[in-house]
Symmetry: C2
Subunit: 311 residues, 2 copies
């Protein structure tokens, strides 16, 4: 994927997304010993960066494909993002979700106009159900993170950040399914001035860290992390980009994630997901190497259950 | 107080404050049946609008007064605001606080460079201790809400809001000691286009509502509200302004405050104090009278104890 594709993707999705604000905190800067610029995708439409990739993927479809609709399987932000993007573009979105998913997530998808299809809570059932919708309706399957147009769309957040802070030395992003970090790394490479991309990942689900070491896509044997958006694994479209353009993936403990999350809430006065705090936790863990640098941090989203906060 | 004084106050404090962002939410607008513009003073320096009034009051002092320092009694945001404003202007700030105040509030004042003076937790002890500092150090006493320069400073938040949304029909503000609502009402009067000011106040501490009815400053017999910033009463400087320029003070229940607070956190993705949510709660309570209108809502601050959330 090249620079022009990122530029084109950004132009295409602009009418459907917000150019989100960049926030700073003197106290967090003092703690980090560096200048941090937080790209606040919690203020994105539907509350997360996923809106960018979803919109980019749908806009690219042919008119015939748009008439048949799109389908994905997700119980997280991508389900809502695809629903809302599709609605904005007059396209049907079929969302396959395990019947065990929280009622609030099911309602959110319906609220954004998605067509909810429930299935048994196994990967096999999710894939079979999605495939059935492709067969029956001619809907186009769009993967939440392992799709070129999704990756390009997610990369536009970092592009916007570099448009206002051109001289970042590093940009930190959380790593889940790999779409955000791959897109971020592409934008840092093409639009940055020697800007390096570093990922943050929980120790508990450190598949991406291990994948970079082993050179092949690794999986997780447990998923015991508060950062529920980061339990997924990399895919064959985003892994080569991550191998080529991501400097390092820094692992953090659950305690470090919660501390960073609290800092963001208390000092930036914003509501973010635990997954978002993983990027700041990685910055703080690496601070001895970052002294005096200008650093971008992608706050990935703000859809969090206020009844289940860790503090 | 006239229009020119508001303009002058704003120019004076600009180097020391942020022009805070204005946020909107489609879902909250749908719920209210109106277009709401949230002026986000939770993003103000030290996390609340109080920075505006404190800075305005200190800047106006003579050089001699500045050398002697300032004093106030407060255990809330004004203590921190006066400390930080004074520090920014090279002035000493003596902060009288009851020894029963939470340690975190004491530390915050010290963190902003204030000189903490503890006293017994009675109004009489606070006033006596402040008076002693005035006598001993020649420090100038600055009241948190019943001071002309403080009122003018607080009014600059509404002035900024009207600079970007000139045609608001109403602006809603919480009512505590009366400084914010008085300043807001002055700005709405001088800079709005027939813009009316409405206050929001908890039923539990409805002294301002009763004061407007009786025509004299009333007090509260209990203080059993989650909106801890609103327990104070009006003063002789701000009450006449409120009588003249505030349309109405709408009372809300504790449950309505918590519901509104949760809406702000979940939908605007920002951290705000319970006191801030009182203004939105008042809008929602009055929504039948506001249909289709453009309405400003002052989010007063974001300094909240994350360990003690009501949800």
């Amino acid at each position: 994927m090249d620079k022009q594709q990122l530029i084109d993707s950004h132009e295409r999705i602009k009418p459907f997304i917000h150019n989100t604000p960049v926030l700073t905190s003197r106290l967090i800067n003092e703690m980090a010993g560096a200048d941090l610029y937080f790209k606040c995708e919690n203020f994105q439409r539907m509350g997360a960066f996923k809106m960018r990739g979803a919109a980019n993927a749908i806009i690219q479809l042919t008119d015939g494909q748009k008439r048949s609709g799109v389908v994905t399987h997700s119980s997280g932000n991508f389900a809502q993002a695809l629903s809302l993007s599709a609605k904005s573009l007059g396209v049907k979105a079929y969302i396959v979700m395990p019947n065990s998913a929280p009622e609030v997530k099911k309602q959110a998808v319906k609220g954004y106009g998605g067509i909810l299809i429930e299935c048994e809570p196994t990967l096999e059932a999710r894939e079979r159900t999605s495939e059935k919708i492709v067969q029956e309706h001619g809907a186009v399957f769009i993967h939440p993170s392992n799709d070129d147009q999704v990756i390009l769309g997610q990369g536009t957040a970092c592009k916007e950040l570099l448009e206002v802070h051109a001289d970042l030395a590093y940009v930190f992003s959380p790593v889940g399914g790999g779409g955000l970090i791959a897109g971020t790394a592409l934008s840092a490479h093409y639009f940055g001035n020697d800007c390096k991309t570093i990922g943050g990942e929980p120790f508990e689900v450190d598949d991406a860290h291990r994948s970079l070491k082993s050179g092949k896509i690794e999986t997780n044997t447990n998923s015991n992390t508060i950062a529920d958006g980061l339990k997924t694994q990399l895919g064959d479209r985003n892994f080569p980009i991550i191998q080529k353009y991501v400097e390092e993936i820094v692992r953090v403990t659950e305690e470090e994630i919660i501390t960073a999350m609290r800092l963001i809430w208390e000092r930036l006065k914003i509501v973010c997901e635990p997954s978002s705090a993983v990027a700041l936790a990685a910055v703080l863990k690496q601070k001895d190497n970052l002294r005096g640098k200008k650093i971008g941090v992608v706050i990935s989203g703000g859809n969090v259950d206020l009844s289940g906060l860790p503090f």
